[in-house]
Amino acid sequence: MRVAGTRTYAAPREQVWQVLNDPAEMAGLMPGVESFEIEDETHWKAKVKVPLGLGSMRMSINFEQTESQPPEHARLHAKGNGVGAIMSMETAFHLSEEAGGTGMQWEADVRIFGQVASMGQRVIQPIVNQQVQNVLNAIDERVSATQAEGGEAAPETGSSAAEEGVHPGSPEAYSKEPEGPTQSA
């Protein structure tokens, strides 16, 4: 499943890049992360609890940063293992300077294999949507916090409607917004 979108931050590109490239900080902000470990500059590990229909699934995920061109572009590969599921994700973002801020184009290709993929087809797509929104929210929060620390204004363009606590299957989770993800199967 491919998801992609754009986002604008009212902060300088270097500042956004700093947030996006601080995995430990990011992990702390993302929901569902139970532990996080940095192996070296380009390899990280996380244990994540993913909501799945009526229950949840624990996954061990290995991240590898496969490309990095500060402050413009980075690419990440993630592979996760859980009981009855394997997750594989390729994700990348491009940062561009725009008037008064930074534009971000991002994309992710998420693949799930195993029994969970067979049984959970109906819930996987909204879950991926929700997780993506959670990541974007985390970035927003972190950028605005960094801005606040620097005594500057909060971001001017908004975050996501898929707030924490919204059930991934609920209609709110699907609600379109200008900068939300677009999908193609």
Partner: protein
């Protein structure tokens, strides 16, 4: 006529002439009391439980397997991986010619996986749960590969190749050409062309999944498999060479089996893995397949696409044959395939007098669960196709579906009828059965019901499904695929003996899965020996060590009533003759013909007072045999008979010959009502008329008719095994794969006629598979209903509500696939 809606009929045992009566079933006492013994009931001291690690990928290279964490867990007894299997066994024998013959298939995946559910490793532990948990600790690294899902794309340039040894995804291809199709085109007034018809992938879901307890005796080098495999003859042929063991080292034992339907034939890969584990760990091992594994990793029914179909038709509705291309999707491995490429030819023209047939047949592998026999195996796909042809032709030429059938049906007076490819339909009266079925649903009043439905905004449709259930294979048909194969004919065995206390004991070579072999065998024996079925002890189950095992022993392909009962009859006649010879000597009669068997006695015909009880006969031969005259030297009262049907080896050049001995027939009529807003439909009325020759036990036959009807309705309406574009199966459990419940069944009206087979010793025909008539009938009824709402053509065998909605929304898409041209 009988009906499921009436109270159960009271069954009373007659005093004589037991064959033909619905006597109480012998099996029921133990089964209704929960005293059956299934594979999962078998327990052995210190046995270990096996869990298979299965592939989450449809196609991937295995880069590493690490079992160390699982093996280190307390209570884990051991593991097995593909490299060990490749070192210890040979690949399973392949039936095809190149390139399919080059496929290397082992008990576990070696080097790569080819479908989701492919077995990668096995873990054995103290408990089932521990084995399953430990299996999660097996670390397998995969390198995913591109997948092949669509059989029509499997041979494209650049398509990923599943089996590098074969070098192609082709399993088998060949042309079947009988009659003169070009002449038929010239003779026809019209030609109906259909671009594509599709028979969907589904399977059977026996209540009992596959399973086994396997023991290895290091002293004798022998394995004992308490397995629910339904065709031990085939399993032993596959497993012996793979395990590099003599066939006698594989002892198959089963008692009760909870449904088979064909998908308990190809369990030999798992059984070989169990054999290796039992030997490696020096401990009995137990495996019961999980339901999800049954859905994703057991054999599925063949998916088939029919392309570029041409049907020459005369102005009066006489159809002269057909030409098409067929592509069969075998899934990832050919484990019983490519036999599906020939088995359809048992019923080449369906029930019709079509003489000119041309099929270019191709079978390919795809990254899906392997296919294999499934109730109606390969003929069901083909008979659905012939029924679609008749209904699409009728629809397009505005001919009556009843009249066009009667015009094209093979007639009762033409029986026995030789088909264009040399099969001989033994007996039957199709038109008469159709009339009976139409009467059951009140066909003459249906136009009024249609109007009444219209007044409520509903679409009423009626459809006919006429089908054949060909039984008792001539395994020589395998030579039409591969002339080097050394299989032909068929056989089954039974022993019947008289024991010391006069007990009649019958042993069968079959592996019943609910078909009541103990009951029907006792009926046949009772009539021949002049006793009652209660006097006949039929051993439950099968044991290949009982000397009641022949090369093709098992229960499959609609044959017990012919081969199994044929063997029982043969052995019983031998025993009856021996009893008469013995009694003639003891009672001083002129010869065996001077003795009759009646009421458990051997009596002199000329003086019934001179009678020897069976108990005395059994005691004399078995325990009191001093001083018997030499002419009784060969009398053992323990008689073994192997029934061999009268077959010839088919002509491999012309692909011509008799491929099956009997042709049971079913005609179904379905009346349904469609909601044009939603595509939801409901079956209002349903009739099934069966002709399987002489019925030994009509109630058991009726049960098979009900089961086959339900099975077909499931396939028509609910049951499908779809895959996504990554090769992930989307119906991995009963949540997604809906099997009809009792409440999903329509009111069912049944009737039967009996056209005894002239070719079988009892006049019987096998009939357990049913031929998928309900799939054909539902498709026909839907097409009839949709006539008034866009006139869509039903081109798929599987029509869930959303598919019907598509046909209603966009009938042009299906209509574009069909054309009528002047010849």
């Amino acid at each position: 006529m009988s009906s499921t809606t009436t109270a159960p009929e009271r069954v009373e045992a007659p005093q004589k002439g037991f064959a033909g009566q619905s006597i109480p079933r012998k099996e029921d006492r133990r089964l209704v009391q929960g005293q059956g013994v299934y594979a999962d009931d078998v327990r052995r001291h210190e046995m270990g439980y096996v869990h298979f690690v299965r592939s989450p990928y449809a196609h991937a290279a295995i880069t590493s397997i690490d079992v160390s964490k699982a093996a280190a867990l307390e209570g884990v007894y051991g593991t097995l991986i593909g490299e060990e299997v490749a070192a210890l066994t040979d690949p399973f024998f392949q039936l095809s010619v190149p390139p399919g013959s080059e496929i290397k298939d082992y008990a576990l995946a070696v080097g790569k996986v080819r479908f989701v559910g492919d077995t990668v490793a096995a873990v054995v532990a103290r408990t089932r749960e521990l084995a399953r948990d430990a299996a999660e600790l097996v670390e397998v690294e995969y390198e995913p590969l591109p997948v092949v899902i669509d059989p029509q794309r499997a041979l494209d340039d650049g398509a990923a190749v599943l089996h590098e040894d074969a070098g192609s995804n082709l399993v088998w291809e060949g042309t079947f050409d009988w009659g003169d199709f070009d002449a038929a085109l010239a003779e026809a007034d019209r030609v109906v062309r259909i671009d594509r018809l599709h028979f969907d992938r589904f399977s059977s879901t026996p209540l009992e999944t596959s399973g086994a307890v396997v023991e290895y005796d290091r002293g004798t080098g022998q394995w004992t498999l308490h397995a629910n495999n339904q065709f031990p003859g085939f399993a032993i042929i596959m497993m012996g060479p793979a395990l590099r063991a003599g066939m006698d080292k594989l002892r198959f034992v089963s008692q009760d089996i909870g449904g088979g339907f064909g998908n308990k034939i190809c369990t030999h890969p798992q059984l070989v893995a169990l054999c290796l584990l039992a030997r490696k760990l020096n401990r009995p091992v137990q495996w019961t397949e999980w339901r999800t594994d049954q859905h994703t990793g057991n054999s599925h029914g063949n998916e088939r696409v029919f392309l570029d179909v041409e049907v020459p038709v005369k102005a009066d509705g006489t159809m002269l044959g057909f030409r098409c291309k067929a592509i069969d999707d075998a899934g990832a491995y050919s484990r019983y395939e490519p036999l599906g490429c020939i088995i359809w030819a048992q019923v080449t023209p369906g029930l019709y007098r079509w003489r000119n047939v041309h099929i270019d047949f191709t079978q390919v592998v795809t990254n899906k669960s392997p296919c294999g026999p499934n109730r109606g195996y390969s003929r069901m796909q083909h008979l659905w196709f012939t029924e679609r042809l008749i209904d699409i032709v009728a629809h397009e030429l505005e001919l009556d579906p009843v009249e066009i059938r009667k015009r094209n049906y093979i007639r009762a007076e033409e029986m026995p009828y030789e088909t264009p490819n040399g099969c001989v339909y033994d007996s039957g009266d199709y038109a008469r059965c159709l009339d009976i079925a139409l009467g059951l649903v009140g066909y003459d009043g249906l136009e009024e019901r249609r109007k009444e439905a219209e007044s409520r905004g509903k679409l009423l449709g009626v459809g006919i499904g006429s089908t054949l259930d060909s039984g008792t294979n001539n395994f020589g048909q395998s030579q039409l695929l591969n002339p080097d194969l050394q299989f032909s004919g068929n056989n089954e065995v039974a022993t019947v003996k008289l024991d010391i206390f006069g007990e009649v004991v019958v042993t069968l070579g079959t592996t019943p899965q609910g078909q009541s072999h103990e009951t029907t065998a006792s009926q046949v024996v009772a009539d021949l020996l002049g006793v009652t079925p209660d006097d006949v002890q039929v051993r439950a189950g099968h044991d290949s060590y009982w000397n009641t095992h022949a090369g093709f022993s098992g229960t499959y392909a609609s044959q017990f009533a012919v081969t199994g009962l044929g063997a029982v009859k043969g052995a019983t006649e031998m025993l009856a003759d021996q009893i008469r010879r013995l009694a003639a000597v003891i009672l001083g009669a002129d010869g065996p013909e001077g003795i009759e068997l009646d009421g458990g006695f051997a009596k002199r015909v000329d003086n019934p007072e001179a009678a020897l009880p069976f108990m005395a006969c059994g005691a004399i031969i078995n325990a009191n045999n001093a001083g018997l005259p030499p002419e009784l030297d060969d009398v053992t009262l323990n008689c073994r008979y192997v029934y061999r049907p009268p077959f010839q080896v088919p002509d491999t050049e012309r692909k011509f010959g008799n491929l099956t001995l009997t042709y049971a027939m079913q005609i179904h009529v379905c009346v349904l009502e469609v909601d044009p807003e939603t595509g939801v439909y409901e079956i209002l009325d349903y009739a099934a008329v069966d002709d399987c020759g002489r019925r030994i036990h009509p109630q058991i036959v009726e049960g098979q008719v009900h089961g086959a009807t339900a099975h077909g309705l499931g396939a028509a309406m609910f049951e499908s095994f779809p895959y996504d574009e990554e090769g992930t199966p989307l119906a991995a459990n009963f949540y997604e794969y809906h099997v009809p419940h009792a409440l999903d069944m329509p009111p069912l009206k049944t009737d039967a006629i009996e056209s005894p087979s002239p070719f079988t010793s009892l006049g019987t025909k096998g009939m357990g598979e049913g031929g998928g008539a309900s799939i054909h009938a539902v498709c026909a009824a839907l097409q009839d209903a949709l006539r008034a709402a866009g006139n869509a053509i039903v081109t798929d065998s599987h029509n869930p509500y959303h598919r019907v909605w598509e046909l209603l929304e966009n009938p042009e898409a299906s209509r574009a696939l069909v054309r009528v041209e002047a010849s």
